[in-house]
């Protein structure tokens, strides 16, 4: 996406809890209107990063800037950000309406305007009929919407969402993902979204920052992260992939020749960082869906080929997963359309994939 002025800037922020480094010198720029996801396993530092933007945790080192001003020393109530909490954190002693009005009242907005804005916010999340209910009388999905309305009604510059869909069941979660994304486009507020669900991140985000051990492993659009993972960890964390260990044989221009599984395979040289050099140990990552069965035809140009024995085919509705055992013992997984030719277990098969769909990663 085109990135205009940066709205939020993390300047090498670090958070230590005793000896534990939760966030380790993270730098990140978030553009205005962007949907940025902090993705990572539990303990990767994504929630702590979010809490430092919100102001709940002061950074041990580093700075948080917003709108060209440092804000990391401001308390949460003086920051133009609002948070949707993981467990919603609705005030149990107030009605839904009062919950949503809370922020406006604290900012002493005029009464008629409060009424109008709260009603509008509740309408936006389709909750007007439940305005006078107590939070505990609502379902999880409804509470989630109240939390969203309570934050959005303040029209913050940035909305922080901490695993807001984590407590919902799968179907509702999918619905809410689309609804959230739609809402974000509609209100044009910058979203910083924390999740451990890579699929959710891919569906909703403009950009994803994948975190690991308190550091950012890779930042990029969902497509970049998925198609061009920068490290083995990213390739493995996002989606499914086949990782084949090997060694660089030679490098010619943007193309590297690798020794993998006793075969000579080609792959694009990773861009950025240091690239690869001959003799280096590497991983070749190939997504299950870019591989196809070749049959008896000769391999087309610009394709890699591997041969193995079919172990089993698993029918999974929209696709069939084929497991193939290579001579070395490694198992390859292919995703094929269910209409593809069935291959019986025990048969030999050749798989091919376009050279530029493989990713060569430093080991």
């Amino acid at each position: 996406m085109t990135s205009p002025s940066p709205l939020v800037e993390l300047r090498s922020i670090t958070k230590r809890f005793g000896d534990f480094v939760a966030v380790d010198a993270v730098s990140l720029t978030i553009a205005s209107g962007e949907f940025l996801t902090l993705l990572g396993a539990s303990g990767s530092g994504k929630t702590t990063t979010l809490r430092m933007i919100a102001g709940f945790e002061p950074p041990t080192a580093g700075e948080v800037w917003m709108d060209g001003r440092p804000i990391h020393q401001l308390p949460p109530y003086k920051r133009d950000v609002n948070t949707v909490f993981q467990s919603y954190a609705l005030f149990p002693h107030m009605s839904v309406w009062d919950n949503v009005a809370y922020g406006l009242r604290r900012r002493r907005v005029a009464k008629p305007e409060i009424t109008q804005r709260v009603d509008a916010a509740l309408a936006m999340v389709h909750l007007e009929p439940l305005a006078q209910r107590a939070p505990r009388q609502l379902s999880g999905g409804q509470q989630q919407r109240v939390a969203l309305a309570r934050a959005l009604v303040n029209r913050p510059r940035v909305l922080l969402l901490d695993e807001p869909l984590g407590a919902l069941d799968l179907k509702l979660r999918k619905e809410m993902q689309l609804e959230l994304k739609h809402l974000q486009t509609q209100v044009g507020i910058t979203f910083v979204y924390v999740t451990h669900d890579q699929e959710e991140a891919l569906t909703m985000s403009d950009r994803i920052a994948l975190m690991r051990g308190g550091r950012i492993e890779q930042v990029g659009t969902p497509r970049e992260i998925y198609d061009r993972p920068a490290t083995k960890y990213v390739a493995d964390f996002i989606g499914e992939t086949n990782l084949l260990g090997g060694q660089v044989r030679s490098v010619a221009g943007t193309r590297a020749t690798l020794d993998v599984e006793g075969q000579r395979l080609e792959a694009p040289v990773p861009v950025g960082s240091a690239g690869v050099t001959a003799g280096q140990a590497v991983w070749l990552s190939v997504r299950p869906e870019v591989m196809t069965l070749l049959g008896d035809r000769p391999a087309p140009p610009e394709h890699n080929t591997l041969e193995g024995m079919v172990e089993e085919g698993i029918y999974a509705g929209s696709l069939t997963k084929l497991r193939l055992r290579l001579p070395s013992g490694t198992t390859l997984v292919l995703h094929m359309a269910p209409t593809a030719v069935a291959v019986a277990p025990g048969q030999r098969a050749r798989v091919v994939w376009p050279v530029d769909r493989g990713v060569c990663l430093a080991a």
């Binding site: 709940f56 109530y77 609002n82 954190a89 609705l90 002693h93 809370y102 922020g103 604290r106 309570r150």
Partner: protein
Amino acid sequence: MTTPSLTWFDRLRSRPRVRTALAAALPVGWVTVLLFVPYLMLLVYSLRTLTPAGFIVPCKGFPPDCAWTLANYDRLFSTSVYPATIWFSARIAITVTAFSLILAYPLAYLLAFKVRRHKNLMYMAVIIPLWVSYLVRAYAWKIILGQGGILNGLLMSVGVIHQPLQFLLYSKWAVIIALTHIYTPFTLMPIYAVLESVPANLKEASQDLYADRVRTFFHIVLPLSLPGVLAGSTFAFVLSMGDFVAPQLLGGSDSALMISNVVVSLFGVAYNWPLGAAISVVMLTLVVSLLTLANRVERRFDYRGEPGRIAKTDALGAIATESRA
């Protein structure tokens, strides 16, 4: 091997209802014998009367004719002395409750939210006095407040006063101070329990929505802690209202007689059990009504709707049931 034969008892106790009954027999029996029966006797005595010689009129025949009368209740309410004493006790109890709250709430707040490292130690420091004999604590105040006591000594050595203060001991303030000291832990515990259960993310959400610490306290923390405040106040009020040791040891001419002292003397020196019983029944009714009311109000303020989550609810419930029984 022979099949073990079942005795009638084995067969009986294998039935679920019987098992429940057996398990409940001991506690129910305990409560019946030690609470229900005495309260019933109290009621019975309050309806009897004294002979001119000062003995309780004996019962005759069956069903027993004990010269049943409401005269004791009539006397209780027609003279101003007993209602006045009840009102005086209530005023003492209200003052004690107020002071206990003023002391307990900030301390409970500190314990729940601010103290990290020595939390258990501090909590124990509050609780341990409860394990010291009541009498020791009451007498301790005699030593502190007396004419040659620690407080007077201290004030005199600092030069604030030149004569020992007379009004410290043997006054209603001595009673109030001692009762506050004795019953503050009871006020603190339920408040602390409720504050502990206030989720941290509610305070964060409030701050996230532009409320500073003070406003977060008044809009979020305080309303959510009201059930604990109510439970704590009930403890302090009920316990100090019924106290008779502190006024006896520390009270002065204006304050030696709280309502329980009257009851004690009626059952003791005055040997007027029927009147003493009548006052007890009235007091019991007052206290039970108060507890019931408090319980109702408290349920109104309990937003979680999860019974048993908050410790004080149970404690209060136990006391209420006890008094009702």
